[in-house]
Symmetry: C2
DNA sequence: CTAAGTACCGACCGACCGGTCGGTTTTTCG
DNA sequence: CGAAAAACCGACCGGTCGGTCGGTACTTAG
């Protein structure tokens, strides 16, 4: 069917574009570069997408979709709050480090380029994730300290601290380094649950 | 003296450029924009700097200078490792949040644009900072646990975790928000020293 | 005053960018 | 087969970018 090949083409373009955007940056990657990498002319590329902005938006939107399906949804129904948090840390790291999901890195890094209307849609989805994490933090703290109405660390600060730890990984991670996913996940989990002396 | 006004001009240009780069992004800011903000023509601007790359490099280099002088140097001679780490966290946050030091944010965000030779010089200074922090982490862990040869959290993972927490702040921080420097510093310190349940 | 050097202007350049469009090939389907 | 639709090409456009350059105003020192 024509419909399916069209969708496939779009997704293949998005994957290639995401790869290039991640490697060279959004601004430094021209539509010609994207087209050439797909063995397409620029005109052919514009048959599938209206603008470069549209491609970036679709990449970021897809990144949020991935986050929803590979992190939030699998975690949602875990009853114990601490286990839920543990699972979220693990899944979030796995998504960030997955070479297949370069969209995440692009979304994390490219803030400016999107026109305001599209950027707001992405930002609102990001905020949803922050709130989800914030509630999870509050719940986990409640389980650990059921009596104290308020700990020293607010759920919001904890959420941003964790997001920073996780979303910064792409800045320093090298697959050939000695600090890989298998070491990283338990260590970052330990830090969140008990600090660097745990 | 002519020499001093020249230096002043360069620094004023760098400050203005840093502000614009931070607000609109490096690629989205043209040399015309920078010149106009300084009430200069583009030709006049090129009298002081050879290229846009040179400006970005100087901004980033200055950012590393600031880190050296406002974080590393004040911390260096603190005898107690834990106190040294506490001070580093506080100073690093203060630098990242200081509206005067926009260079830091530019340096944190703009990775791609610099030509390889200049980028390597910045990266090596960044690595120095990571190593400094890594050693500090190892020392602090040693003080806390003098007997165990190795804790669950490696100094390297701890260093990257902390850097992530701190360097990600610029992505979400709003001066008008309820989470400001005065709340942030003790909370992030608590998380590093004892996790989110501390 | 004068001459040299600094600071600066503004017109200009070639390159490249995102995007367009008329036409051609390829695929799909009755 | 044949026609419609989808995919694709490549030349082209207006605009902007980083950067240049010849000339001018201003400052400074002798």
């Amino acid at each position: 069917m024509a419909r399916e090949t069209l969708v496939d083409s779009r997704q293949e373009i998005l994957r290639t574009a995401a790869r290039l955007f991640q490697q060279r940056g959004y601004d430094a990657t021209s539509m010609n570069d994207v087209a050439a990498a797909l063995k397409l002319s620029k005109g052919g590329l514009y048959h599938h997408f209206q603008s470069k902005d549209e491609i970036l938006f679709e990449i970021m939107d897809h990144a949020m979709e991935i986050t929803q399906e590979r992190v939030i949804n699998p975690v949602r129904d875990i009853a114990d709050a601490e286990e839920r948090l543990r699972a979220l840390i693990r899944l979030h790291i796995e998504v960030v480090l997955s070479p297949r999901d370069r969209e995440i890195t692009v979304m994390l890094h490219e803030n400016h380029p999107l026109p305001p209307a599209l950027r707001k849609r992405i930002n609102s989805r990001k905020k949803e994730y922050v709130h989800f994490l914030e509630n999870l933090m509050a719940e986990a703290q409640k389980v650990r300290h059921p009596h104290s109405t308020k700990g020293k660390v607010s759920p919001r600060a904890a959420a941003f601290a964790l997001l920073g730890m996780l979303n910064w990984i792409y800045q320093w991670y090298k697959p050939e380094g000695d600090l890989q996913a298998q070491n990283l996940i338990p260590q970052f989990t330990e830090i969140i649950f008990g600090g660097i002396f745990a």
